[in-house]
């Protein structure tokens, strides 16, 4: 009976299970009951599909167990009595119609016995493979969470980010002005579900202590568009966000728990942000985040106060492509719209284009995607090395079993059956290794997670989910087949009867086997070279970033951040007064050895840029150079141990009322003054002409310092350029954390509502800034070491085995008068030939990898970063030398042992 296709959709799980039933149950059972059985299964699956995961899991465990038990029961009648009962009605089914389970069970049992018979080989094979599989599973979890896993928003594949770009200055994507947003939104027909958010830092006050938070001002339909449901209360109504008296806010679950003790009555009460009250209408669960994972409170806003603002690019704009419209079509429509706005508002919109980007393209960027791809490629190669290792091990083992195999053939076993038997062994080995590797990867994924900065949304954190587990099982099976196939076919290929002929050397390597073994050795060398060169190049790249002399002394220094709210500190004078007062009071705190203020710390992620002109030079339109800048207090250079190379540091006499001064760094001198110390020269920056009074040494000012050239930097004195956000740096005699709370109290004496955030020692701060690159370097280092170890084990194993195969040949040579040295040289030459060929084959592969890394780094460079050094230090020669040394050792040890043999004994060796 042919089962007809059910007319309602079956979930994948049921389909897979139906296949398993067909394979495992005897045809007499599944053919007769196929449709009915599937319907019953589907009924049950439907009954549990909305249940808790534990109930669903129990259901499938029961089904799988039942299937296996039934398969065995149907194939092996348990007792004679059972058989007797069967005969009562029906004759036993003819043998041919039996399912494949019985021979499979035989194969499996036999395979287990063979695997356990050679425990050392098994352990080496399983550990090699497990390492390879663990590395692959771990890196795949990253690939999965970054590139494969669907984003947790409805119709996420139609969500796009809409950016402005300034065609005149650069093609970079930029945030959008409020007026442009509303114009686009009103007129574009290819995009719908427009929503915008604006991230700000605000001070939450009115609680026991003030706190600085990341606030998102969002259009009221924001949560609806992203399909986010509150865990308590509601999200915004569409008419909210105007200029009503009591604006509304949604609080994040984290903040609700940490600062409001998870009080349910927070809904309906108010929170005070930068002095304005907001009534709380809902709590958003921790699981919700969109692009920036650290938002504390969302407030509804239609940005009415900036409705006609076409200058400040503040909005992150999201929209959804209308079904049936492509992203390209949306891009064209918006480009036309932007062109029209250019003619309507030439004074602000000239050169302003638009860029529509799918959410998936926005993060991770090309550079990160490239790095992940390299990592994945590298670990696949590691797994390949492991496979080659195991294949050569198994080949040696099958050699030793040549006679057993011949006996089985003589007794009537078909070649296909034998190959299947050997493959079963490989697959079982691989599955054991897969289980171990997956367990190891749990640790690996945990390690990866420590490398993620908190602002990355939770959705992008790697986890081990069904996809990753499926991948793990798949690569295990694939690995089993890959390394099992060669030894299996090779074992049954050729004459199977000769090993039985008396006196034949059952273990002697034939020419063909020798070639395969040679190919294995070459493959090991080629793969190891590729991986090691790739890992070394990348490690070197990251290491340069980390190893640079920071140019400052970070010992016993603690930092804390202050951001003065603009609604309260409206002008420079009020900020100067605040900082003056805080400085005066900190000086009285016991234990403070020294302190300073700076608007940005070394190794920062973000340093503001400003256009400048050197007085006396003329510049064309849009030719103004730009420089990084920061504001510091007079003590900064001295306290941080940064050298002032010429002129002087700032002093307390550089006040807002005295003439404006700046200090530049060495890079600025080299880049814009041809190395001439520019003391007394004047630079116009921030709208004012200022005198250069000093030159400071370059320091590792940005996170990427070391990889990139230092950037030109201008320092302003605090009294002349008092920006709202400043860091207090405190150097203590001993434990700097002891200073944290007295200094906080001092700040609160000056302003009770002023929050202090990010209290950390400089070392801790630098460590978090560098967590990503650090982890990457460590991962690559570990992967490189693994590859080297696996390759060394493999090369040694194959070499040693092939030398041992030549024992009798060596015996003949020695009996004929060859000196041990000659024998050693001969074997060494053989080894070198293989190693050399392998390495030569590996060079183009390695070059390919280096090239790819180069293209990624250049890509980073085209994003505005300057690469200090090229990849010329590529370590192919070093790596090749190491591998040749490994190869020679691998030849020398077994060869020496062979020459120690008594020639007579060696001759008798089979």
């Amino acid at each position: 009976m042919l089962p007809s296709r059910p007319d309602f959709p079956r979930p994948l799980s049921v389909k897979l299970f139906a296949v398993a039933i067909r394979v495992l149950l005897p045809s007499s059972l599944h053919e007769e009951f196929a449709e009915d059985l599937e319907t019953t299964l589907l009924d049950q699956q439907r009954a549990v599909r909305r249940e808790a995961i534990s109930i669903r899991a129990a259901f499938w465990v029961r089904e799988i167990w039942g299937l296996i038990a039934t398969a065995f029961r149907e194939s092996y009648p348990r007792s004679l009595g059972d058989r007797r009962k069967r005969r009562r009605v029906n004759p036993p089914a003819p043998k041919r119609s039996r399912n494949m389970i019985s021979s499979l069970r035989q194969d499996a049992t036999y395979a287990f016995r063979m695997i356990l018979k050679t425990p050392v080989v098994t352990i080496i094979a399983v550990v090699s493979l497990a390492i390879g599989i663990a590395a692959n599973t771990t890196i795949f979890s990253l690939v999965n969470s970054w590139l494969l896993k669907p984003l947790p928003y409805p119709d996420a594949d139609r969500l796009v980010l809409v950016w402005q770009n300034d065609r005149v200055e650069s093609d970079d994507t930029e945030n959008v002005t409020v007026a442009n947003f509303w114009d686009w939104r009103a007129e574009a027909t290819s995009l719908g579900d427009w929503t915008a958010s604006q991230f700000q830092t605000m001070n939450l006050t009115g609680l026991d202590r003030p706190e600085q938070l990341t606030i998102a001002r969002v259009t009221p339909d924001y949560f609806r568009v992203l399909g986010a449901e509150p865990m308590l209360g509601r999200t915004f109504h569409i008419q909210e966000g105007g200029t009503e008296d009591s604006p509304v806010a949604v609080v994040s679950e984290t903040l609700w728990k940490n600062r409001f003790g998870a009080a349910p009555d927070l809904i309906g009460s108010t929170v005070v942000l930068d002095g304005r009250s907001y009534s709380v209408v809902g709590i958003m669960p921790e699981t919700f985040d969109f692009l920036l994972g650290t938002v504390g409170i969302w407030v509804a806003s239609d940005f009415g106060d900036q409705r006609h603002n076409r200058e400040d690019q503040t909005l992150l704009v999201t929209a959804r492509v209308i079904p049936g419209v492509t992203v390209q079509q949306a891009q064209s429509e918006l480009t036309a719209l932007a062109a029209r706005l250019e003619t309507q508002h030439p004074e602000t919109n000239e050169g302003i284009g638009v860029n529509v980007e799918t959410l998936r393209d926005a993060f991770p960027g090309e550079t990160d995607t490239g790095l992940v791809q390299i990592l994945m490629a590298v670990v696949v190669l590691v797994l390949l090395i492991a496979c080659v290792n195991v294949a050569s091990l198994l080949m040696a083992k099958t050699d030793a079993r040549q006679k057993e195999i011949a006996v089985r053939v003589a007794l009537g076993a078909g070649k296909g059956r034998l190959v299947r038997q050997l493959l079963t062994e490989s697959v079982i080995l691989a599955l054991i290794a897969g289980a171990l590797g997956t367990a190891l990867s749990v640790w690996g994924v945990g390690f990866l997670n420590t490398a993620f900065p908190p602002e990355i949304p939770a959705n992008y954190y790697p986890t081990i989910d069904g996809t990753v587990l499926g991948f793990s099982v798949a690569i295990s099976l694939l690995a089993g087949l890959t390394f099992g196939l060669t030894p299996a076919t090779q074992a049954v290929g050729g004459s199977l009867h000769s090993p039985l002929v008396e006196g034949s050397r059952g273990g002697t390597a034939t020419r063909r086997k020798k070639r395969i073994r040679g190919a294995f050795v070459m493959a090991e060398f080629a793969l190891a070279l590729t991986i090691l060169v790739g890992a070394a190049t990348l490690t070197d790249l990251f290491h340069r970033k980390l190893a640079i002399d920071p140019g400052f002394d970070p010992d016993n220094v603690i930092k804390m951040e202050l951001t003065l709210p603009e609604y309260k500190y409206t002008d420079d004078a009020s900020r100067v007064a605040f900082f003056d007062e805080v400085q005066r009071r900190i000086a009285t705190v016991r234990g403070v050895r020294a302190f300073a203020f700076a608007s940005a710390l070394p190794r920062t992620r973000y340093l503001p840029l400003a256009d400048f002109t050197i007085d006396g030079l003329t510049y064309g339109v849009n030719e103004q150079p730009s420089t990084s800048w920061l504001t510091i207090s007079p003590e900064y250079f001295g306290r941080m141990g940064i050298e002032v190379r010429a002129g002087r540091a700032f002093t307390d006499t550089d006040r807002s009322e005295t003439h404006p001064v700046i200090i530049v760094n060495q890079r600025m001198v080299d880049q814009y003054f041809d190395g001439d110390v520019p003391l007394g020269r004047r630079i116009t920056i921030h709208g004012e002409s200022r005198e250069v009074i000093g030159v400071a040494a370059n320091i590792a000012q940005t996170r990427l310092s070391g990889l990139m050239a230092p950037s030109a930097t201008v320092y302003f004195p605090l009294a002349q350029e008092p920006v709202p956000g400043m860091n207090i740096l405190l150097r203590a005699q001993a434990d700097p954390y002891q200073l944290a709370s007295p200094v906080q109290s001092v700040v609160w004496e000056v302003d009770r509502d002023q929050p202090i955030t990010a209290v950390q020692t400089i070392q801790e701060y630098v460590a978090t800034q560098l967590a990503g690159p650090n982890t990457m370097t460590r991962i690559l280092f570990i992967v490189g070491l693994l590859a080297l170890a696996l390759a060394a084990i493999g090369i040694y194993g194959v070499m040693a085995y092939s030398v041992s195969q030549q024992t009798s040949e060596i015996g003949v040579r020695m009996a004929l008068g060859a000196k041990p040295r000659q024998v050693l040289m001969r074997i060494g030459r053989q080894g070198l030939r293989l190693a050399g060929t392998g390495l030569l084959l590996g060079v183009p592969l390695a070059a390919l990898v280096v090239n790819f890394i180069g293209s990624i780094v250049t890509n980073a460079a085209s994003e505005g970063l300057e690469i200090t050094r090229t990849l010329s230090t590529c370590p192919i020669a070093t790596v090749a030398a190491i591998l040749i040394a490994v190869g020679l050792v691998a030849c020398a040890i077994p060869a020496r042992r062979a020459t120690k043999f008594d020639p007579m004994v060696a001759l008798q060796t089979e």
Binding site: F33, D36, T39
Partner: protein, 121 residues
């Protein structure tokens, strides 16, 4: 096929749990596969839940041994799904179930007499 008799029925016991439970479920009405699983689960308060494969393995053997048969019964066409088959108990099946029930009953009596349960629990 010869008409099964009491002797034949006695040779079939003891029955496996699934077989006995299926016979009990079909004692007073015909049921489809999912119905049988549900009925057993409800009657035993979740203690016995058959997997689909176990159920059909048992059904196959029970049809072969003439304990149950495929039933021609069809429910109300609106509720019906033509892919489903219904199963009913045969006379022989009922006889075997009775034999098994008597065996278990006797066993229970024995256990009661030896006060085994009270002593161990």
């Amino acid at each position: 096929m010869a008409k099964p008799n009491g002797h034949e029925a006695a040779r079939m016991i003891p029955l496996s749990t699934p077989v006995f439970q299926i016979l009990l479920s079909l004692n007073d009405r015909d049921l489809h596969g999912y119905g049988i699983i549900q009925d057993i689960s409800a009657r035993t308060e979740g203690e016995v839940i058959l997997s689909t494969s176990t159920l059909y393995g048992a059904i196959k053997r029970m049809i072969r041994d003439d304990l149950i048969r495929q039933s021609d019964m069809r429910p109300d066409p609106d509720l019906d799904d033509e892919r489903r088959r219904y199963y009913g108990i045969t006379e022989f099946g009922r006889e075997v179930a009775r034999c098994e029930a008597r065996r278990i009953h006797k066993l229970a009596e024995t256990i009661k007499k030896t006060r085994f349960v009270e002593r161990t629990s």
